[in-house]
């Protein structure tokens, strides 16, 4: 895995040769990101128009007001504090959930008895939404960090397990047979064939889990927290600080977008080489 990062330019270069027949690099970049920029600009423009002419209420502030408020909250460090609080929880739970989920998924995908044994857990628990677990989490772990991290782990782990196991199931049997007849042990096949072959599936599972994590953290912070973007939303409602509510919403949207882009990018980068089938 450590070498994957350094290898990507080569894989990109290989792909570039195929894609290179299209428009030039500058035009392609403009095509990729110009569309995005335009899309975002139109989103904010529509919002501006809607709040000025359509709704025209203090309950629906225009983006200009929201950005002004955001700048103020960035200036005094309040926004950063909430963002950091939420992201820290997401990161801790997400990393822990993935680190637990990946090996469990690999084991479930590789060994039938393990799958039979563990499937009842995953098939039962994944239908209990993490939001429903908030009450239990607070009873068990209090309103501190532990309950939030537990919830993020909970929302991450099943989807990562499921995707990882599906990835293992998709591995071409000849990849495993080749390793066997080259003298690899079961453990080595697990580490050197099953794990790398499943990378695209693992990343997809993590990407879905990241989206879940955002939902879960806000819900958890709404109910029980001293800081975080969910707490900011709650306070906004409590004290009728509509601008702050919108700042929090925009921050959530942007953070989620950035996190998802990161995953899309890494899936794209690895998909060229890591594949269960080819």
């Amino acid at each position: 895995m450590a070498t994957a990062g350094t290898d990507t330019p080569r894989a990109d270069a290989a792909r570039g040769r195929v894609a290179g027949r299209g428009p030039g690099v500058a035009r392609r970049l403009a095509g990729d990101y110009g569309g995005y920029a335009l899309g975002f600009a139109s989103l904010f423009a529509l919002w501006q128009l809607a709040s000025l002419y359509l709704v025209s209420s203090v309950l629906f502030p225009p983006p200009t007001v929201v950005f002004k408020k955001a700048l103020a909250l960035v200036g005094n460090g309040v926004l950063l504090e909430h963002v950091v609080a939420s992201l820290r929880r997401i990161l801790a739970g997400f990393v822990a959930g993935s680190l637990l989920g990946i090996p469990i998924g690999l084991v479930m995908g590789s060994f039938r008895p393990a799958r039979k044994l563990l499937e009842p857990y995953t098939e039962f628990l994944r239908f209990i939404p993490s939001v429903a677990m908030i009450t239990v989490a607070v009873i068990w772990f209090g309103i501190g960090e532990a309950s939030k991290i537990f919830l993020i782990i909970y929302t991450t782990i099943f989807i990562v397990i499921l995707n990882t196991a599906a990835g293992v199931a998709a591995i071409a049997p000849n990849k495993v047979r080749a390793a066997q007849s080259l003298g690899a042990t079961r453990g080595q096949i697990f580490l050197h064939v099953a794990l790398p072959a499943t990378v695209p599936y693992i990343l997809t599972g993590m990407r879905l889990a990241m989206a879940n994590s955002f939902t879960t953290i806000v819900a958890a912070e709404l109910i029980a927290a001293n800081d975080g973007l969910g707490k900011m939303l709650w306070d906004g409602r409590l004290f009728m600080l509509v601008d702050e509510i919108f700042v929090s919403l925009v921050a959530l949207g942007l953070l989620g977008f950035a996190a998802d882009r990161l995953f899309r990018w890494s899936i794209y980068t690895f998909a060229g080489k890591y594949s269960p089938t080819t």
């Binding site: 290989a14 007849s181 072959a197 990378v199 890591y274």
Partner: protein, 259 residues
């Protein structure tokens, strides 16, 4: 003592409808060390089943398979397999790293395994391509990686399951020549599965012709009295071709009727 003995081997598969299908039955043959043994048969005659059992991927339903006098039980690095398609290659490893795979699993020191992998890449004509990934190489080159990968692991024998079937005619002819050359230098025992008479006569030192399935077995054995590089227009080559053809003709027709 032969290197490999198939002793009255049978393999029965159960279909999803619950019917039994006998792929091979009373299958017996000996393979001597140093032979290039071509197992030739019409499609669906159980050639690949025979290879899978010797590889240890599947267990026989009856009879036994011996290698060096010991029963085959599971895959082993003694019997390396070259697969028909390219899905056995590891797309996340370079050509060189694919060739090194077996040595790395056996914890051969890095410098030594690199040196050995380079040597075998050169043997299969892939020198200078070691840093490329399989996806960047052509079908013929990918089969070369597979061949280098098994040779570098120095197995007691090679099992090849129609390794050139998916290649275009020109590349296939070239690969056959290369494989013949490699075999003449290494003299590794080979079990080569094919449905192509020309390929069998070009490569084999002995040819086993299989009956049409189901419940297939070896119909007859033919020694190929040709040495060194072979010429398809040579009289001896054509005699051998005709001999094999006469033996397999009825089986192909039978397979066609059943298929």
């Amino acid at each position: 003592m032969p290197l490999v003995t198939f002793d009255d081997v049978a393999k029965t598969y159960r279909s999803m409808q619950g019917d039994d299908y006998g792929a091979v039955e009373h299958f017996s043959v000996d393979i001597e060390a140093g032979e290039f043994f071509c197992l030739l048969g019409p499609s669906g005659c159980g050639k690949t089943t025979v290879l899978k059992m010797l590889a240890g991927f599947e267990a026989p339903s009856a009879g036994q398979i011996l290698m060096d006098g010991e029963a085959v039980g599971g895959a082993s690095r003694d019997r390396a397999v070259v697969f028909q398609g390219d899905d056995s290659l590891y797309g996340w490893l370079t050509a060189l790293e694919n060739v090194e795979f077996g040595l790395r699993m056996r914890r051969v020191p890095k410098a030594e395994r690199r040196e050995r992998a380079m040597r075998y890449l050169e043997l299969v004509g892939l020198d200078g391509q070691g840093r490329k990934y399989p996806a960047e190489l052509s079908g013929g080159m990918k089969q070369r990686i597979q061949i280098a990968r098994v040779l570098a692991n120095e197995p007691k024998m090679l099992l090849m399951d129609e390794p050139f079937a998916a290649l275009d005619a020109q590349t296939r002819a070239l690969m056959q020549e290369e494989l013949a050359r490699i075999w003449r230098t290494t003299r590794t025992t080979v079990l080569f599965i094919t449905h192509d008479i020309d390929e069998a006569v070009t490569l084999g030192s002995r040819i086993g012709v299989m009956r049409a399935g189901p419940r297939s077995q070896v119909k007859g054995l033919i020694d190929v009295e040709l040495n060194g590089a072979r010429d398809r227009t040579d009289d001896a080559f054509m005699r051998c071709y005709r001999q094999v053809h006469a033996m397999i003709r009825d089986e192909v027709a039978a397979a066609g009727r059943r298929g």
